[in-house]
Amino acid sequence: MDKFEKLTGIAAPMPMINIDTDMIIPKQFLKTIKRSGLGVNLFDEMRYDDNGNEKPDFVLNKPAYREAEILVAGDNFGCGSSREHAPWAIKDFGIRCVIAPSFADIFYNNCFKNGILPIALPQEVVDVLMKDAEKGANARMIVDLEAQTVTTSDGESFSFEVDSFKKRCLLEGLDDVGLTMEKVGAIQSYEAQLATQRPWV
């Protein structure tokens, strides 16, 4: 898994609540065999017209935000399906950090599995970051995972919370399966007692 340590980049403002996984990556792109290449279809229906031309007023089509690496959005980001194509598309576009007042649980987890840092901050802090993001390409936001801070282009800094284990996995690019198999003895013990405790399983 890709590491995430510190990021200085352009933040794109998307002040919408309930940005769902169907919006992030519509179903017609889920048949892909590879996990890469989905960035071009990120937010497909908001981003392109019926003829496949870019809609100039959509934030990621604006010259200032085409290289955005951070997304600032509204409440309940990533609600809907468990499709991991949603973080894959976000990352393939080049976005490595999403900031919102809250995230849907499954999406939030999926981000950490793919080297994306989702940051939940109170609405009033997100409002400040949203204003900063609206300044465009000259305003660079700094996200520091080790220090757990987001800093605006004006130098205003906010701390955020992150689970310590998830943080370590992101910082070190650790893989879950490998870590779990270090506990194989405990799994085997559980397996052994399952047949007597709950034979119907």
Binding site: D20, I33, R35, V177
Partner: protein
């Protein structure tokens, strides 16, 4: 409705003791405090707990579908085997063609890849040619693969459905699917416990779908975020198992990864004798364990909410989030009367996408088509409820009815429901996810309005530019015969 935090509830049934779920955390020796259903499931599945609080949980059932190919590819990259193929079950549903037309090449490839992956790892598959095929969340319970007290995962957010039988079931992403394939375990932090009680008696024509959309409209699409919901109360006890499956299915639309109903005698009667259900002495022991999953007297919840069943009217979504739902008797919201500028913008954007006028009555909104089916409302009871409205009537808009499984289809045909649908002028098609998600090509055309018994009214969900109104099967049937979104209750007068 009231929602409060950390308040112990009143009366709770005290189930018989059984060591399967009364085993305490191995490290704990002190007397246990009263436990909720989630607590019991958590304790019986925890293999170990990490210093940061995350638990490694045992997975009893893992369902895979066409979308699982990324996970299979991932374990192949690592050269890993499936640790417990006998606890893993494949079901073809998301891409299965329902209307008889052959699958396009890319859709056929998705279905074929599932067959190849399950065959390679010796996993039982309910594929397109199997008489038990259907939507995974219909098939699992129907076959008795879903049982009370099991921990169930699937790479699909509607896995919450299985909680209706008292399982702890939740959706996971592709990386987690790979993890479960390789280890039969999953890392989780314990969610908060929420008790959502529905007390009283539902009015005729009001169903589990209406209960679900009602609480989501009140608490919001993130109202259950971070929580495992336990549905309780007299109206939930009175629901059929099919109704409970619908209710739990929609938990995720309110932000909760899981929803559960404590097993009762109704649950046991429903499960007994199903293909994979325990038999003989195993059944007797299991049944006792299942009933012991009911919350203990005095068990505490982090959040509690209570709904009055008698106040619930048939409800319909008007916008592009399941929380944007209103009773059929209501008028559409008006952005100019919204509480804030942000809210006004949201209402205006939803009305604009849906092509609806602010402040107009919801009742009477013309629809272009209807869809009845999905893991939410594709069960036999759903089809019976739709048939009760459609019998002897003609649909004046086109529509598709897709049973949730091949077994539901056979049952409906045995009961003659298919004749009622066909005589009403609706298409009776095969089983699969179909028009709920449109992956198999069953789509709503741009700008068209569909009365749908599915679970998501997101923009573009049923097709680019499609306008989805979520509602119960009876309400969708009423939309078919009137060509409008309308109150089903008058249409049920004088009918059984």
């Amino acid at each position: 409705m009231t929602a409060t935090g950390n308040r112990s509830s009143e009366r709770r049934r005290n189930g018989p003791r059984n060591d399967a779920y009364d085993q305490t955390d191995r490290k704990m020796t002190a007397k246990m405090s009263p436990r909720t259903t989630l607590d019991k499931l958590w304790d019986s599945h925890q293999i170990l707990q990490r210093a940061d609080g995350a638990s490694l949980l045992w997975v009893d059932r893992h369902f895979v579908h066409e979308g699982s190919h990324h996970a299979f590819a991932r374990i192949a990259e690592k050269g890993m085997a499936v640790r417990h193929p006998e606890l893993t079950f494949g079901v073809a549903d998301h891409y299965v063609p329902t209307s008889g037309a052959p699958a396009t090449d890319d859709i056929a490839r998705m279905i074929r890849t599932l067959s190849e992956n399950t065959a390679r790892h010796d996993i039982r598959l309910f594929g397109t040619d199997d008489p038990r095929q259907g939507i995974v969340h219909v098939v699992g319970p129907e076959l008795g693969l879903t049982l009370p007290g099991l921990l169930i995962v699937c790479g699909d957010s509607h896995t919450a459905t299985h909680g209706a039988l008292g399982a702890y079931a939740f959706g996971i992403g592709a990386t987690e699917v790979a993890h479960v394939l390789a280890t039969q375990t999953i890392w989780q932090k314990k969610p908060k416990r929420m008790r959502l009680a529905v007390e009283g008696t539902l009015m005729d024509g009001v169903s589990a779908k209406d209960i679900a959309l009602n609480w989501i409209a009140r608490l919001g699409a993130d109202g259950g975020r971070g929580h495992a919901i336990e549905y309780a109360g007299s109206a939930i006890e009175a629901l059929s198992v099919e109704g409970r499956l619908t209710l739990c299915n929609l938990s995720i639309e309110g932000g909760a990864r899981s929803g559960m109903v404590a097993p009762d005698q109704k649950t046991l009667d429903w499960i007994k004798g199903r293909d994979f259900a325990p038999e003989g002495a195993d059944w007797d022991r299991a049944a006792e364990a299942f009933l012991s999953l009911a919350p203990d007297d005095g068990a505490e919840y982090d959040t509690e909410a209570v709904l009055d069943a008698a106040e619930i009217a048939p409800i319909v979504t008007w916008g592009t989030s399941p929380e944007e739902a209103l009773p059929i008797t209501a008028t559409l919201p008006d952005p100019s009367r919204a509480g804030s500028e942000a809210q006004a913008k949201r209402i205006a954007a939803s009305l604009d996408y849906m092509g609806l006028g602010a402040g107009r009555p919801l009742d009477g909104t013309p629809v272009d088509q209807i869809f009845i089916g999905s893991c939410t409302n594709g069960r036999i009871e759903d089809l019976r409820n739709a048939a009760a409205v459609l019998k002897g009537r003609l649909a004046i808009v086109p529509g598709m009815i897709s049973p949730g499984s091949a077994q539901v289809k056979a049952q409906a045909e045995q009961e003659g429901l298919d004749r009622i649908f066909i005589e009403a002028g609706l298409d009776w098609v095969g089983s699969g996810c179909s028009m709920c998600v449109g992956m198999n090509g069953d789509l709503v055309a741009p700008g068209k309005r569909c009365a749908s018994t599915t679970n998501r009214n997101f923009r573009g969900r049923q097709g680019k530019g499609a306008r989805t109104h979520l509602m119960s099967p009876a309400m969708a049937a009423a939309a078919a015969v009137t060509g409008t979104i309308t109150d089903v209750r008058p249409l049920l007068k004088g009918r059984a």
